[in-house]
């Protein structure tokens, strides 16, 4: 019986140790990080999202977007996230401070979305709602060959009663996607919120810890060796 008591004790001690080391220690440090107060701007970062975007975060969560999209930008030199225009800097812990559900993701079947609200280079209207509505309605319209499924259920095709809705998107769609005459395609509230959330995704603030990146010393021949060794 003593051996079994020892076994139970050993199991519990091991569980407690791993939990303390992995969770508890971090809860006291990175889990208790405060927001950064910027004296220049007089604001605390990260800034909370507007309410519509927060509701869009819930839509993002319930549709399972995290199954294909990550929301973490890796540092320069570790992969080519920065060269893809997925972010000016790598993500830091404080970027996620105010998120009720952190969805950094584990698969990149689609691009990283951490800074999707910031992407404008050469993509017409990408930073506008129209691009996102077209993309959600049928990804093949904006991204031919994409494996993203169409989210047509986020839109409502309804009869035009009285005036046509200013939010209707059929003007953005090609002839093959037009609704029957007298009908309009309107994004549902969920679609509007989701797009608001996507457009709010931009990590622009330069946290001081974002500068904690190893830079190989370039003076002297030892620098070249160090740079080579650390690649």
């Amino acid at each position: 019986m003593n051996r079994i008591a020892l076994l139970f004790l050993g199991l519990f001690a091991a569980l407690a140790t791993s939990w303390t080391g992995v969770i508890l220690v971090n809860q006291g440090s990175v889990g208790a990080l405060p927001r950064v107060v910027d004296a220049n701007e007089g604001l605390a970062f990260p800034q909370p999202l507007p309410g519509v975007a927060q509701q869009g975060h819930l839509v993002y969560q319930d549709l399972g977007c995290v199954a294909c999209h990550t929301q973490q930008v890796r540092r320069a030199g570790f992969g080519i996230d920065n060269k893809r225009g997925w972010g000016e800097r790598h993500s830091v812990a404080r970027d996620y401070l105010l998120e009720p559900r952190v969805l950094i993701g584990t698969h990149r079947i689609g691009p990283d979305l951490r800074n999707v609200g910031q992407r404008k280079d050469g993509q017409e209207g990408r930073d506008g709602r129209e691009w996102h509505y077209r993309h959600l309605y049928d990804p093949q319209l904006t991204s031919p060959g994409s494996v993203m499924p169409p989210f047509r259920f986020l839109f409502e095709t309804r009869r035009i009663v009285g005036e046509a809705s200013p939010k209707a998107i059929q003007a953005l769609l090609p002839a093959s996607h037009q609704p029957p005459a007298g009908f309009e395609i309107v994004p549902t509230v969920r679609a509007e919120r989701l797009v608001s959330y996507l457009l709010s995704l931009k990590d622009t603030y330069a946290y001081p810890e974002a500068a904690n990146v190893f830079v190989a010393q370039t003076e002297g021949h030892s620098g070249a060796a160090a740079e080579g060794a650390h690649k």
């Binding site: 990080l33 004296a39 007089g42 810890e209």
Partner: protein, 223 residues
């Protein structure tokens, strides 16, 4: 087939669970006879364990990133970097401008344009009080002013609150220095910036203990 096989397995007797337990109890209690005085396998495992502990320790020490919750790059060493770090400087003029324009602060009376209100609040643009002696200006902002004051040929009679530590605004010396630097360089003024150390010196030494606002006469006595 001998029961002490070279591969150290034994038959299970009648194959029941009772004999399974019995055979394994025996195996656990009596380790198999080692050949030539040692058996290879435990030594191999011990060696593997030691090697992996060694490799793991080296790996961790090399890639520990200073065991810092704010380091996300494993190659980064905060101690080495601290030596070469430059503290991100706050831009005094931008900070000062923000302070100047804070609701209830300077712009409320002296206006965003620095022109004040005729007959009520003196201007700051091209004002000799602003571009002149910084010691007077520091004291004026730290503790406030009451009574008559002549600015650019006009007389103003009012009350200006103090902004330094201990006042209602309770601005730090740094903030006072920033806002003074701002007004001395804005609206065409081109006076040198005000140092934080000077503000601190004025508050804690030269004018230590002062709480009540200054008068123009008192300030003019200061070089």
């Amino acid at each position: 087939m001998s029961s002490q096989d070279q591969d150290s397995t034994r038959p299970l007797g009648d194959g029941s669970d009772a004999s399974l337990q019995a055979v394994h109890a025996d195996l656990a209690a009596n380790k198999p006879e080692p050949k030539d005085g040692y058996s290879v396998l435990p030594l191999f495992l011990l060696g593997l364990l030691s090697a992996l502990i060694f490799v793991g320790s080296i790996y961790f020490v090399h890639y520990r990133g200073g065991i810092d919750p704010l380091v996300y790059d494993e190659r980064f060493d905060p101690k080495k970097a601290a030596k070469t770090a430059t503290v991100a400087a706050v831009d005094p003029i931008a900070a000062g401008k923000r302070l100047y324009n804070q609701p209830g602060a300077c712009a409320t009376c002296h206006q965003v344009t620095g022109l004040g209100v005729a007959g009520v609040f003196p201007p700051l643009a091209a004002s000799e009080w602003v571009t002149g002696s910084d010691e007077r200006l520091i004291r004026l902002v730290l503790h406030g002013l009451v009574g008559e004051i002549k600015v650019k040929g006009n007389t103003y009679n009012g009350a200006m609150p103090g902004f330094g530590l201990g006042s209602g605004f309770n601005w730090s010396d740094e903030k006072v220095a920033h806002v003074l630097t701002y007004i001395r360089s804005e609206w065409g003024n081109a006076a040198p910036a005000v140092d934080v150390a000077k503000v601190t010196a004025a508050r804690t030494q030269a004018a230590a203990g002062r709480t009540k606002p200054w008068t123009a006469v008192e300030l003019e006595a200061i070089p």
